[in-house]
């Protein structure tokens, strides 16, 4: 499959092969992972810093909101060329609309994998934290963890709906295109 040779055939592209600088959009990748990572880390270690609950809540809310907006509006389209929209028509029905790049091969395979990886791993982590909070009877923290879970899941759901929509037009997509979009090895 041709994509196997993509990295080696980039003439004039003298990025190092590993590390942060090997990515085409290092800042975008950092933005994609940093907010959700920081939210999880802050939640887990919040009790070590003796801040009041309100401040912790507000910090987490700010981080989660920043993450949601960034992943929906910026990192999706810059890393994988996808964007989801949801709006309501005059009858009150929900509409989903998607934009996708006409030329998916211009996206770096590592960035695609990091994108989907962070998108999936964060909600899994948050779900685990919700369960922990539930079983330790910390209701206020459970609500906070639930909020983190929902906000991260919302983005995952939006992007997955694109794949669902793609499913219907699968005849238009080659197998290797679908695999590349997801960062999977080609079938």
């Amino acid at each position: 499959m041709s994509y196997n040779f993509d990295q080696n055939l980039s003439f004039g592209d003298d990025r190092p092969l590993t590390g942060l600088r090997s990515l085409k959009h290092p800042f975008v990748v950092i933005a994609h992972c940093a907010f959700r990572g920081a939210a999880i880390v802050f939640y887990v270690f919040a009790n070590i810093l003796s801040l009041s609950f309100i401040i912790q809540f507000l910090v987490l809310l700010a981080l989660l909101s920043a993450d949601f907006w960034t992943v929906k509006n910026v990192t999706g389209r810059l890393l994988v060329g996808l964007r989801w929209w949801n709006f309501v028509d005059s009858e009150g029905k929900n509409h989903w609309k998607f934009e996708s790049a006409k030329d998916p091969s211009r996206f770096d395979i590592f960035e695609i994998r990091i994108f989907w990886g962070a998108l999936v791993v964060a909600p899994v982590f948050w779900t685990f934290l919700v369960i922990v909070a539930f079983f330790t009877f910390k209701w206020e923290w459970m609500i906070v963890a639930l909020m983190g879970d929902l906000m991260n899941l919302a983005n995952l759901y939006g992007y997955l709906r694109y794949l669902d929509m793609m499913d219907e037009d699968l005849a238009d997509y080659e197998d290797h295109e679908v695999c590349r979009l997801l960062g999977l090895p080609p079938v």
Partner: protein, 202 residues
């Protein structure tokens, strides 16, 4: 004049819900355009609550940033007093209260989507948040009965404004026979928040 081909629409004026079937391409827009567009939409909704008009278009671009901000603001203003509610209590009442009123509207057959309804109910809390700020400043005046009267007036105005603004948004999306059943929980919701504002914003 006429129809602009969608791909040439300037990104910051782009309004996705104006024509849901149009093809659009915002994938390569600069990040600043994205930020500006979202800020513009949120600002427009705040303005719409403060000055209700007949424009239904704004309603369709729902977003939850405004409601989130307003709920947090209200929770910060109303918490902390002696015997008063905690931050999470006010936040739960405002946020989950909106969700429950929305559920009621949907179950009674309203033609408004869940997120739109939460969005509207959240944005229309703005007058009450303003009233809460107003009540905080009244605390610096002298006699208790004057204080109470002023706070009562401020809160009543906020309450009325919130109802008026939300009716403006919600009108036309409810089935005729059940209007009262749908309106009552909305009024009750704003009444409860107004009561909290009157009691604890000081």
């Amino acid at each position: 004049a006429g129809v602009t081909p969608p791909t040439r629409t300037r990104s910051q004026n782009f309004d996705p819900s104006a024509d849901p079937d149009a093809e659009f391409d915002t994938l390569d827009e600069p990040v600043w355009d994205t930020i500006r567009r979202d800020l513009r939409l949120v600002g427009a909704k705040f303005a719409r609550v403060l000055k209700p008009d007949q424009n239904k278009q704004l309603l369709r671009d729902w977003d939850l940033w405004g409601p989130l901000f307003i709920c947090v603001l209200l929770s910060l203003l109303l918490q902390g007093g002696v015997g008063g509610p905690h931050f999470t209590e006010v936040f739960s009442i405002t946020f989950f209260g909106s969700c429950i009123v929305t559920a009621n509207t949907k179950l009674l057959g309203g033609t408004i989507s869940i997120f739109q309804s939460i969005c509207v109910l959240g944005y229309c809390l703005l007058p009450l948040a303003v009233a809460a700020i107003g009540c905080k400043f009244v605390a610096f005046s002298s006699s208790p009965s004057i204080k109470l009267t002023i706070k009562l007036v401020i809160t009543a105005v906020g309450f009325g404004w919130a109802i008026f603004a939300s009716m403006g948004f919600l009108a036309g999306s409810q089935p005729e026979k059940r209007r009262l059943l749908i309106i009552y929980p909305v009024v009750l919701f704003y009444f409860v928040v107004s009561w909290l504002t009157l009691s604890y914003a000081s």
